[in-house]
C-alpha cells in the first residue's frame, strides 16, 4: 500500500466504515456532488448515493440536531463542518443536547462531528481556530485531534464505532502536508480513543502536545538532540478523555515538561495538563512546567502576524534549554 496523506487517511477510514456499516452516513454542507470544501467526501455520493451523503442547507444547528435525531434511531451519522470555526453555530446543540444525552436520560448518541481546524494556512480569524477547549470543558463529549495519517485513520474508525458523541478535529495544515504508509498493510485497524502515543522517546524532557504541534515538537527534538538534550514527545491524540497515565509516566521519567499547543494560551489544554502533572508527578518535577501556546488573540490573517501568533520550533528549543538549565 502506498503512503497516504492525512486527508486521504481520513477519507479512507470514512469510506471503509461506510462500506462496512450501512448505518453510517454523512451529512453536511457541500459534501455531496462537490465532495466537501476540502474534498474529504469526494466521490462518496457516487458510491453511497444522495441518501447517505446528505447535502444540507447552511444550518449547523440543524445538521447537529438532525444527526443526533438520526442517531437515536440507531444510525451512526458523521457530520461535517465546512470549517470547525462554524461549530460555534451549533454550540448549544452540542454542549446542551448531545453531551448531556446519556447522563440525563440514558440515550447514547453515536455520532461524529468532524471538520478542519487549525491555523498556519492564512485563513484568518474565522477559518483557523482550534476550538477544542470549548468541548474538553464539557463532560459527555469525546474530543480527538490526530497528528498523523495512521492515527487519523485509526481514530476515525474508533470515533465512528464509539457510542458517544465524538468531535473530530482534522488539522487542515496537515491535510496534504504529511504522508505515511498505514500500518497493517492497509487493512482495517483502529486506534483506541483516550490513549496517547509516544511519538519520540527521550530521557531529559517531555514535550506533551497534539495535532499539528506534534510535528513542531519532533522538529525541535531533532535540533535539541544535536545539543545532547533528549526530548520525549508525547502525542495525546485524544484530548478528552485525556490519558493521565501516559502524561504521568513521561513526566516521572524526564522530570521536566513542556506542554505545547496551537490553541491560545489562556484556558487552553496546557493548564489542564499542568494540573494533571502536578497531581500525578509533583515529586518528580525538577523544573516548572512550561506552556507554549499561541498568543492570546484571535488568529491574525497576515503571514508575519500569524507566524508571530503560532508556536514555533525555536520556542520549544528555547524553553527546553531553559528547563534543562533549571
Amino acid at each position: 500500500m502506498p503512503a497516504v496523506t492525512y486527508l486521504e487517511a481520513i477519507r479512507l477510514a470514512l469510506w471503509e466504515e461506510m462500506e462496512r456499516d450501512p448505518n453510517v452516513f454523512c451529512i453536511g454542507e457541500d459534501i455531496g456532488i462537490y465532495g466537501g470544501a476540502f474534498k474529504v467526501t469526494d466521490g462518496f455520493i457516487d458510491r453511497f448515493g444522495a441518501e447517505r451523503v446528505i447535502d444540507t442547507p447552511i444550518a449547523e444547528s440543524a445538521i447537529v440536531g438532525a444527526a443526533y435525531g438520526a442517531s437515536l434511531t440507531g444510525l451512526r451519522p458523521v457530520a461535517e463542518f465546512q470549517f470547525m470555526d462554524f461549530i460555534a453555530c451549533a454550540f448549544n446543540q452540542i454542549v446542551n443536547v448531545l453531551a448531556k444525552s446519556h447522563y440525563r436520560w440514558g440515550a447514547p448518541a453515536p455520532l461524529v462531528l468532524r471538520g478542519p481546524s487549525g491555523g498556519g494556512v492564512h485563513g484568518g480569524p474565522f477559518h483557523s481556530q482550534n476550538p477544542e477547549m470549548w468541548f474538553v470543558k464539557t463532560p459527555g463529549l469525546k474530543v480527538v485531534c490526530p497528528a498523523t495519517p495512521a492515527d487519523a485513520y485509526g481514530l476515525m474508525k474508533s470515533a465512528i464505532r464509539d457510542n458517544n458523541p465524538v468531535i473530530f478535529f482534522e488539522h487542515k495544515f496537515l491535510y496534504r502536508r504529511i504522508k505515511e504508509e498505514l500500518p497493517n498493510g492497509g487493512g482495517d485497524f483502529t486506534v483506541p480513543l483516550g490513549r496517547a502515543r509516544q511519538a519520540r522517546a527521550g530521557r531529559d524532557l517531555s514535550v506533551i502536545t497534539y495535532a499539528a504541534m506534534v510535528h513542531v515538537a519532533l522538529e525541535a527534538a531533532e535540533a535539541l538532540a544535536a545539543e545532547g538534550i533528549e526530548v520525549e514527545v508525547l502525542d495525546l491524540r485524544t484530548v478528552l478523555p485525556l490519558d493521565r497515565e501516559a502524561i504521568a509516566e513521561t513526566v516521572r521519567k524526564t522530570s521536566r515538561a513542556i506542554i505545547l499547543h496551537e490553541d491560545t494560551l489562556t484556558g487552553g489544554l496546557a493548564g489542564e495538563i499542568a494540573a494533571i502533572i502536578n497531581e500525578e508527578a509533583f515529586d518528580w518535577l525538577d523544573a516548572p512546567i512550561s506552556r507554549i501556546a499561541a498568543l492570546d488573540t484571535p488568529v491574525p490573517f497576515s503571514p508575519p502576524l500569524e507566524h508571530a501568533f503560532l508556536p514555533k520550533v525555536e520556542d520549544v528549543v528555547r524553553e527546553a534549554r531553559r528547563l534543562r538549565a533549571w
Partner: protein, 429 residues
C-alpha cells in the same frame, strides 16, 4: 428542455399569476396561499405596553370578549371509543397536574411545577393521533402527551420529586425524560426549539431505514422565535421529512405577549416561507387538534413532508408555579375559562350521548383513583443514592446496544465506484 410551469402546485397550495414573458406587471402582484383555519370562532386580542396614569408601564388589553363559546367541531376520525379514550387522557393530564400542585404545596416537589392547564386538548389529542412507529418529543406543557404515549402519572410525579425510581433516576427533573427503546420519545430540552431539528433527524433516520414516520413536537409562540426553529423546519421542508410541528400559541411567552414576539397575526403564516402546509386550529377543541394532527401524520406517512399546525389557546396559569401571572389581563383568563378544553369536550360527549353522566362520573373517579395510587407509589420511592452522581456520563462499551429502530439501512449497492484521489481547497494550500 422541459419548462417548469410558473404556477406549479406547491405544498401550501400557493398560487400566483402566471409569469408574463417580458411584460411589465403591476407592482402589487398578489399571491394566494391556503391557510385552513378550522376554528369556529376567531377572537382577536391585542396586548401592548402602555404607561398608566400612575406612571407605571403595564399591559393594556383590547379584544373580542363577548363571543359565546363555540361548540366542538365534529371530528372526521374520532370514534366514540377513541373519543372517550381521549377524554380520559385529558382528565388524567389535569388530575395529575392538580396532584403535582398539591405535592408542591406540601414541599415534596424539587424545583417548580409546570402546568398545561387549558392546553390538555392540544397535548393529548395530538399525541393520540400518532401511530406506533411514530416519534414525539414533548415540551414542558405537554405532560398529557406522556400519558397518552404510555408513561404513568407516577413517572412524572417521581421526576418532579427527584426520586430514584423516576425515569431519569433523579438526574433530571420535570418531564425531562425520554425513551428510545419503547415509546419513541425524545427527552425535552430546555433550550426552546432544539427539538425541531432533532425530530427532523429522527424522521431522517427512519427514512434511511425505509420507513416514512411522523415525528411530532411542539413549540410555543415564544419559542418559535429561536433560530433553531427556523433551521429545523427548513431542513425538514427541503428533505420532505415527516416533522409535525404544533405551534402552541397560548398568547404568552412567560410574561411576554405574542405581539412582542412576532409581527404577524397567525403563526401559521410562517408555513408559507418554508413551502409547507400550515393551518390553524382551536387548541381547546380536542377534535380539531386530533383531526389536524392525524392528517399531518398521514401526510408524513405518505412521505409528503412536514406540516405546521398552529393551535390557538391560552396558558391558564403562570409560566410555572412560582409565577402568579399578575401581568396577564384578567379578562383574557375569564374569556378562556369559558373555553376549558375538558369541559367543552365533556359537554360534547354528553351531548352526543357517547357518554352518560354516570359513565362520566365513573371515569372521573377512576382517573382520580389511578392518580392517587400513582401518587402513593411515587412518594414511596426513595431519593437517589449519591453514589450514582458520577455515573452514566458516557455510554461505555457494553452499556447500551445500539438498536436499529427500523431494521437498519439497506443500501442500494451501486456500481464499482472506488475511492479515488482528491484535491483539497486550493487556497488553503
Amino acid at each position: 428542455m422541459k419548462k417548469r410551469p410558473a404556477s406549479k402546485a406547491r405544498h401550501n397550495g400557493a398560487s400566483r399569476p402566471a409569469a408574463g414573458r417580458n411584460g411589465q406587471r403591476p407592482a402589487d402582484q398578489e399571491r394566494r396561499y391556503r391557510i385552513p383555519d378550522w376554528r369556529l370562532e376567531r377572537p382577536q386580542f391585542h396586548v401592548t405596553q402602555k404607561r398608566t396614569e400612575a406612571g407605571e408601564v403595564r399591559y393594556s388589553f383590547t379584544g373580542d370578549l363577548d363571543l359565546a363559546p363555540p361548540p366542538i367541531r365534529e371530528s372526521g376520525y374520532l370514534t366514540r371509543e377513541k373519543s372517550i379514550e381521549l377524554y380520559r387522557w385529558m382528565l388524567l393530564n389535569r388530575r395529575m397536574e392538580q396532584t403535582l400542585e398539591t405535592l408542591y404545596k406540601q414541599s415534596k416537589v424539587v424545583g417548580g411545577v409546570y402546568f398545561g392547564l387549558g392546553q390538555e386538548a392540544c397535548s393529548c389529542a395530538s399525541a393520540l393521533a400518532l401511530g406506533d412507529g411514530d416519534w414525539f418529543a414533548p415540551m414542558i406543557r405537554n405532560q398529557g402527551a406522556l400519558l397518552v404515549r404510555g408513561f404513568h402519572p407516577r413517572d412524572v410525579m417521581m421526576q418532579y420529586m427527584a426520586k430514584a425510581d423516576s425515569p431519569t433516576h433523579g438526574k433530571d427533573g420535570t418531564s425531562h425524560y425520554g425513551d428510545i427503546a419503547q415509546r419513541n420519545m425524545v427527552s425535552p430540552i430546555s433550550m426552546l426549539g432544539d427539538l425541531i431539528p432533532i425530530l427532523t433527524g429522527v424522521a431522517l433516520g427512519a427514512r434511511l431505514q425505509g420507513r416514512n414516520i411522523a415525528a411530532l413536537t411542539w413549540i410555543g409562540d415564544g419559542g418559535q422565535s429561536t433560530g433553531v426553529t427556523h433551521e429545523g423546519l427548513n431542513f425538514a421542508a427541503v428533505q420532505k421529512l415527516g416533522l409535525v410541528l404544533i405551534v402552541e400559541n397560548n398568547l404568552w411567552a412567560y410574561s411576554t405577549p405574542t405581539e412582542m414576539q412576532f409581527a404577524i397575526e397567525d403563526l401559521a403564516e410562517r408555513a408559507i416561507g418554508y413551502g409547507v402546509p400550515g393551518m390553524i386550529v382551536d387548541g381547546t377543541d380536542a377534535c380539531q387538534v386530533f383531526d389536524a394532527t392525524l392528517e399531518a401524520v398521514q401526510r408524513a406517512h405518505r412521505g409528503e413532508g412536514p406540516t405546521l399546525i398552529e393551535a390557538k389557546m391560552m396558558r391558564m396559569k403562570g409560566h410555572a408555579i412560582h409565577d402568579a401571572a399578575g401581568y396577564v389581563p384578567p379578562e383574557m383568563l375569564e374569556f378562556w375559562r369559558k373555553r376549558d378544553p375538558i369541559a367543552r369536550f365533556e359537554k360534547h360527549l354528553l351531548g352526543k350521548k357517547w357518554l352518560t353522566p354516570a359513565q362520566n362520573r365513573e371515569l372521573i373517579a377512576e382517573v382520580e383513583r389511578q392518580v392517587d395510587e400513582d401518587r402513593t407509589l411515587a412518594e414511596a420511592s426513595p431519593m437517589p443514592d449519591p453514589a450514582q452522581a458520577p455515573k452514566g456520563v458516557y455510554c461505555d462499551p457494553g452499556c447500551h446496544p445500539i438498536t436499529l429502530k427500523y431494521g437498519g439501512v439497506k443500501p442500494a449497492r451501486r456500481g464499482g465506484a472506488k475511492l479515488k484521489q482528491s484535491e483539497a481547497a486550493l487556497h488553503f494550500r
